[in-house]
Symmetry: C2
Subunit: 336 residues, 2 copies
């Protein structure tokens, strides 16, 4: 049955999600805080900034008023940077219908508290909402491919498994496969922290250390992400799933990843300030590196790769020395 979906944020990812759901037959409103941009999308039926050449489905209605956008929606998809999740949700909430479910598609941690979005949402909206009406969507999904209908598999996690299934029933389509889980924390930690490993992968690529080093780094990076997740109560196998390993592989080996480009530029000796200018779009991994480091410290979890990434980005350590120190570590038992 056709649903009403509101997508908040008409960036690359929000637009792709709006398009794939509109093509499934759902009615989609697409809101963005940039009013001029929404008007341009309305006029041209195209998101020229992020998906030039892609004709938007007639089922998509661009919208400048956030409360109008979410009115009567069954699902509200949050496709905005993670630091804007709290504020946007609070602004839209008064117009939510009674059973409307919020689906978070943003990947990041709260900058001040290092909490995942589940905690941010719990604090803002209350426990009952977070348990029954909040889900997170994550997994290996370049927007460029989703908007073109190429096959993609993602995970939807909700504390209440019925909420996840409800989304799966409505939104799973032939090119857009939805797997479900109840491990929200695991999916959120995996989604946020993979961006840091992607940056380090970029550094390894920049120094031309080879495919072996890259695969080793991704694997050991996932071990560190998994350690942090487990300390927060996540299920260890979530990290071998689509939101963990799947997304990590994509971000670390796909040519389209912004975060990896950040690392390549670090290996060229460029400063963070210069890199942020050159990469243009937000690379969430830069902020997340700091949050991840602080979080691991708080949890007393051993994370050598995340630590070297933090030192290289925020404490002036040269990326070359950081990589050398990583490689000089003592031999380990693997499952520790």
């Amino acid at each position: 049955m056709a649903k009403r979906i509101a997508v908040l944020g008409a960036g690359s990812w929000g637009t792709a999600l709006a398009q794939i759901q509109a093509q499934t037959g759902h009615t989609v409103t697409l809101w963005d805080r940039k009013r001029d941009f929404v008007q341009e999308v309305t006029r041209t039926r195209e998101n020229r900034k992020y998906h030039p050449g892609i004709q938007l489905s007639p089922n998509i209605r661009p919208e400048t008023e956030i409360r109008t956008a979410v009115q009567n929606a069954d699902f509200v998809i949050l496709a905005i940077p993670s630091h804007a999740v709290r504020e946007t949700l609070l602004k839209a909430y008064p117009s939510f219908s009674k059973n409307c479910v919020a689906i978070n598609a943003a990947k990041g941690l709260d900058l001040e508290t290092q909490e995942t979005m589940l905690t941010v949402v719990t604090k803002a909206m209350g426990e009952a909402f977070a348990r029954d009406r909040y889900a997170v969507l994550s997994g290996p999904s370049f927007a460029y491919e989703v908007v073109r209908g190429l096959p993609t598999a993602v995970t939807v996690a909700a504390c209440n498994p019925k909420t996840a299934e409800q989304i799966q029933n409505a939104c799973h389509t032939e090119p857009f496969h939805i797997y479900t889980t109840d491990d929200v924390i695991g999916v959120e930690i995996a989604g946020a922290l993979k961006n840091v490993i992607a940056i380090v992968t970029g550094v390894v690529d920049g120094f031309k250390l080879g495919n072996n080093a890259r695969a080793g780094l991704i694997t050991r990076g996932l071990v560190e992400i998994s350690r942090i997740g487990k300390a927060l109560g996540a299920h260890p196998l979530t990290f071998s799933g689509l939101a963990g390993l799947g997304d990590l592989i994509l971000t670390c080996t796909g040519d389209l990843s912004r975060n990896r480009r950040v690392g390549i530029k670090m290996a060229e000796g460029k400063s963070l300030r210069t890199i942020m200018k050159e990469v243009g779009q937000v690379a969430e991994g830069i902020r997340t590196t700091k949050s991840a480091y602080l979080l691991a410290k708080k949890l007393k979890v051993d994370v050598p790769i995340l630590t070297e990434a933090y030192l290289a980005m925020y404490e002036g350590k040269s990326p070359e020395t950081a990589i050398r120190d990583l490689l000089a570590r003592d031999p380990q038992w693997e499952r520790d």
Copy 2:
């Protein structure tokens, strides 16, 4: 302290392992069943077939007699195709010194019984040998990079953790990191079966289904490998380790992988016979696809990707239909 190491098999991987260990200061004999080839390597101090341009370390002594090669060796590395492990070990064993440890670097299952090399070795050499004097070396390691001293991390698994540690203590070097585990079955299953997923990845790449599809396939492929492993008693987290996920990433995304090339050619509509001629070197994944399918059937484990790979390779199903059937599967709960 310098050890004596015999490497059996002077192919791409055996030669790379010989070189990296010889450069660490160990004394290495390098045996191969092709006598002419060994004589050429002796004369040229180069393995022109697999590593042209790489000058072999003076610590490597090529050897035509297998028993001479293994005499007094502390470690015997088996760098031969998996179907030759049993015979080679039985041939060399009479000259093994008392505490000599066999390190298997071959990835594959016994064709007739679908057993891993641990069982093959247990049957041939007895339980005591398999427990204390057998180890398997696996992980993301293109020989091309190892022979050039690029950083690489691998896993060494032995039923007796002390055996694995003994190898780690002797063979771990700055560019060649060795992690240890006691999950031999897990490491062997992961190493063998990843070749099948690599072939399917090649098919997905050949049909230009995109990075999302590839990352999703790798992730779900690892779930299937892990299901088979668990049914055989392996530790689930082994599959997130270097021999599992690490090697899978490398084989599925690295441009150098033979098995992936097989899949790309399948997508072009070529027959297995033609492909085997074109790819030249042995692609273990072709044989392993059949073994993996039979093994999963025997264990009653659900493996949709491995099954479609088998049908496309051995039962005349078109790769296009196989991929379409995979994509049309019903939605799932992720951790099942």
